[in-house]
């Protein structure tokens, strides 16, 4: 009863959108929703809110006011922030200390609204989408050191900490990463930061053929030149890059090498020899151009203003070619990231028949898909995320253990979860 009184003094519960600025307020809101079984949509900076299934929520918990850096220790390689803190603000602060978020969070703003919006740290953790360095440094989940959050009963819980080595109890950082706000409202996030490499350069190979590109990528990733990015853009997208050292406007393979300057030059040289490239076949992007090239890649800028549906497909690299050959009909509207394992593919039109084909193909090739952008007419009936029946059952149990009344983002990932 006492808690209820506190709550009434600080917040008006008749409103539909809450914008709390303290954790205590978040706790009160969740407790109240738990008591009344009121569904609650958890929202950050609206950069990725269109990803996921449609669902009904009476109230919205908007975390955009719950922001700020709590603690940043460059020498300890971590930053602790409130969940609503914009990624752009975090990256700005890290840059001053020559550090970065090594997992390169995607900026979905260009895709959904035509302009940059890299969202909040809470949203980035909730979606667990990592950029081009994924195959080398891991995903968002590999950089989440610890969190504090509020579970579906309104209880404040935590796991992990700020040190990199920590195996105390279950690793809840992992289960919350990529849970799309269906398990816990994240409040505080401790994330690992890493030094920015002294130099980044990109080997650009001019070639229009996906098969050849995948050979280049496979060979590079298995070489001791240690690349940190590997991407292929087919002809269709080649023209999107206008850079001093990239005058070619057809299909291209880009391989990024990072580290101390002399080592980068040596490795680029070695890699071009290992791949048996001839002089007019490739060019090298310097630091500045490299930054632009990979930023456009992680931000999916080639799909900016596109009206098409967009699917994110992840398969083992050995399967990529076959998956593309099976999926690709007439257009060439896709590109490959993660050194060959991630396919971003646009479809002008989607329907359940096409989608079940995609599902079958990705499953048969040991992968999975996520529908990122989808036409409104079809969204309500489409499977945005895939899952098998056994994992669905386990997911139900896990959901219940965090959020017994299913108040957080109910149905955002799967019906009934």
């Amino acid at each position: 009863m006492e808690e209820k009184q506190n709550f009434q003094t600080s917040l008006d519960f008749n409103q539909n959108i809450f914008k709390p600025s303290t954790r205590e307020e978040i706790v009160e809101i969740v407790k109240n929703c738990y008591k009344k079984s009121t569904p609650l949509e958890i929202s950050g900076l609206q950069s990725k809110n269109k990803i996921g299934r449609n669902f009904q929520a009476e109230k919205t918990l908007d975390l955009s006011n719950y922001k700020g850096i709590i603690d940043y220790k460059p020498e300890e390689l971590y930053i602790k922030v409130k969940a609503g803190t914009p990624i752009s603000e975090i990256e700005e602060v890290l840059k001053k200390n020559n550090q970065q978020l090594a997992f390169e969070p995607n900026d979905f703003g260009y895709l959904f609204s035509g302009e940059s919006n890299s969202g909040s740290i809470g949203g980035v953790v909730a979606c667990n989408f990592a950029g081009s360095r994924r195959f080398k440094v891991g995903s968002v989940r590999d950089h989440l050191l610890g969190f504090q959050g509020v579970n579906g009963k309104g209880e404040t819980i935590k796991s992990g900490g700020t040190v990199v080595k920590n195996v105390t109890g279950y690793d809840l950082c992992k289960i919350l990463s990529g849970s799309f706000g269906t398990l816990t409202v994240l409040t505080e996030i401790s994330i690992k930061v890493l030094p920015k490499p002294e130099t980044s350069k990109t080997l650009i190979i001019k070639n229009p053929h996906v098969k050849k590109a995948l050979d280049y990528l496979g060979q590079s990733l298995s070489s001791s030149t240690d690349p940190s990015g590997g991407v292929f853009y087919p002809d269709y997208f080649g023209k999107n890059f206008i850079l001093n050292d990239l005058t070619h406007d057809g299909g291209l393979t880009g391989i990024r090498i990072e580290g101390p300057t002399n080592s980068v030059d040596q490795r680029i040289d070695r890699l071009s020899k290992e791949l048996a490239l001839i002089n007019n076949e490739y060019s090298v992007l310097d630091n500045v151009q490299t930054e632009i090239f990979w930023s456009k890649t992680k931000n999916l800028e080639v799909f900016k203003n596109s009206k098409s549906n967009l699917i994110r497909i992840v398969v083992p690299i050995s399967e990529t070619l076959q998956v593309i050959q099976k999926l690709k009909k007439d257009d060439l509207n896709y590109f490959i990231d993660w050194g060959g394992s991630l396919i971003w593919m646009a479809f002008d039109h989607l329907n359940s028949k096409i989608l079940s084909e995609i599902k079958e193909i990705t499953k048969n090739h040991q992968g999975y898909y996520t529908l990122i952008k989808i036409e409104d007419d079809f969204k309500a009936s489409a499977d945005i995320f895939t899952i098998d029946p056994i994992k669905y059952k386990i997911s139900e149990k896990i959901k219940k253990s965090f959020d017994p009344k299913r108040i957080f983002n109910p149905g955002k990932m799967y019906t009934g979860i």
Binding site: R141, V167, G169, Y170, D171, G178, P195, S224, S318, I398
Partner: protein, 498 residues
């Protein structure tokens, strides 16, 4: 055995031993069931040898279906199950219970597939960590996490404990090098989490299972990623006149943007002990000795070694030697890797602690350990994965002297509490097991632990899989986990309850 509290023994299970043996004999080849006390003896303890308990019976399944059927049988009949890999764990994670079926996974000992195109290895769980590297090294690949027991520890055990190693600083622990697992839940459900593709659909069960210490499922297959071996590796051996200087040097190297492959510190006591033992050529007059290793391409390694040298000199290094050959580099490591046997020469027994702290707190924590060593009148030597803040104090004691073991436990508990106090963690890579179970309240409050127990109950409602591990027993919340409590004594009775 010390005053360790374990879950209440189910007398009815003990009396049904013969029936259980014969029932499981219908699921697996009866030759793979051990029930005579002489056969059970080798399984009574793991790497934490201070605690011993014979299981009711040992079963050694050969297929995932057998694992599933045994678990289903045990679940239906309320029989506790303790999974076991190679039995090298240092926190007592596979310590048997008197009324348990010990599931020894030793027959899952084959590498299933080496897939160079996807840079991964699919293996059964009881293949050793080092065997994976051995299987791929002729093609110039290796598996990065390298716990010091890698010659003996199993990859399934590594997954269960989320094992780290000297090179975790640059390459991460097991969880960061894992692509997929096949796992059997307590109700017999067989499922796969992850696979050869990166990340996975839905909730990250792979991440949840990793480090869950055998409480959530039994691992029957593991897919790990393998890396291309670096072109060259070089190490520097650096002596410092004070621990503070060494600590500052670590922090500065990291802050400069060099991430070494490994960065180890040993205190004077351990430097001397290991040098006497292995003749590694260590600077025994230094208060602290550091080994810092870089890997990569020639230029990269040389650049970083030069930077590290400058930083060390700035921090008053008293000696500095850079390896000129791979043989010399391995000699640098020989002493560090012999830290355990070297302590074995100094005292009848030692207990290896595993706290994790912020790098900047190194000197402070080591001062506290020295103070505690005097207080408890037990010698201690310190090894430290300095780059990632993982501290391994080796407390020397005599297990035959009950008072000495008790003092050692108290000393260890005080160190770990201090690690938590300065912003660190109870365990960096060895796991909680039974060893640090009652200390969980130092790191977590009631709600935190309750949330974890709710997950346990969701997947194992009767708490039959590896009960009595990780979570404290004498607590209100433990009741939800259906762990029965009796008696009054705990391992760390002086720790405040909440």
């Amino acid at each position: 055995m010390s005053s360790l509290q374990m879950p209440k023994i189910d007398i009815s299970i003990l009396s049904k031993k013969d029936k259980i043996v014969s029932d499981i004999g219908r699921i697996i080849n009866p030759k793979n069931i051990l029930s005579h006390p002489d056969e059970l003896r080798p399984f009574e303890t793991d790497g934490l040898t201070a605690y011993r308990q014979m299981p009711l019976v040992v079963v050694m399944p050969e297929t995932v279906e057998e694992v599933s059927n045994i678990l289903k049988y045990c679940n239906d009949n309320k029989v506790k199950v303790v999974p076991r890999g190679a039995g090298t764990g240092l926190s007592g994670g596979s310590l048997p219970l008197e009324d348990c079926v010990l599931m020894a996974m030793g027959k899952f000992n084959k590498i299933i597939e080496i897939d160079y195109k996807n840079r991964c290895v699919v293996t059964q769980p009881c293949v050793t960590n080092l065997a994976i590297t051995h299987a791929v090294q002729d093609k110039g690949f290796y598996y990065a996490p390298d716990p010091s027991s890698q010659i003996a520890c199993s990859i399934g055990g590594n997954v269960a404990e989320n094992s780290g190693g000297v090179h975790s600083l640059k390459y991460g622990a097991t969880t960061n090098n894992l692509l997929g697992i096949e796992v059997v839940l307590m109700d017999g459900t067989i499922t796969k989490f992850g696979g050869k593709a990166m990340d996975s659909e839905g909730y990250d069960f792979l991440g949840l299972m990793t480090g869950s210490e055998g409480l959530l499922g039994v691992i029957t297959e593991v897919t790990v990623k393998i890396l291309k071996s670096p072109e060259i590796v070089k190490a520097a051996l650096i002596g410092f006149p004070t621990i503070e200087d060494a600590g500052n040097c670590v922090a500065e190297i990291i802050a400069e943007g060099c991430i070494p492959a490994g960065m180890e510190i040993m205190d004077k006591a351990l430097t001397k002990a290991t040098n006497d033992y292995s003749k590694a050529g260590y600077p025994t007059d230094a208060e602290a000795m550091m080994i810092v290793e870089f890997d990569g391409t020639q230029h990269e390694v040389e650049t970083y070694i030069e930077k590290a040298k400058q930083i060390a000199e700035k921090n008053n290094s008293s000696s500095l030697k850079v390896s000129k050959s791979n043989e010399e580099r391995l000699k640098f490591w020989a002493g560090r890797k012999a830290a355990f046997p070297a302590c074995g020469v100094l005292a009848p027994d030692y207990m290896c602690m595993d706290g994790s702290i912020p790098r900047g707190k190194l000197a402070e924590v080591l001062r506290e350990i020295t103070r505690l060593s005097k207080k408890y009148d037990l010698p201690v030597a310190n090894a430290f994965h300095a780059g990632d803040g993982n501290l391994h104090p080796l407390i020397m004691f005599d297990a035959n002297d009950k008072n000495s073991l008790k003092k050692c436990e108290d000393f260890g508990a005080d160190i770990l509490k201090y690690c938590v106090k300065v912003g660190g963690a109870l365990t960096g890579e060895h796991g909680v097991g039974i060893e640090k179970r009652e200390l969980m309240c130092e790191a977590f409050n009631d709600k935190d632990i309750q949330q974890q127990l709710t997950i346990k109950v969701a997947l194992d409602p009767n708490s039959l899989l590896n009960p009595g591990k990780v979570y404290p027993i004498l607590r209100k919340c433990a009741e939800e986990g259906r762990v029965h409590v009796h008696g009054g004594k705990t391992k760390f009775p002086d720790i405040p309850r909440f």
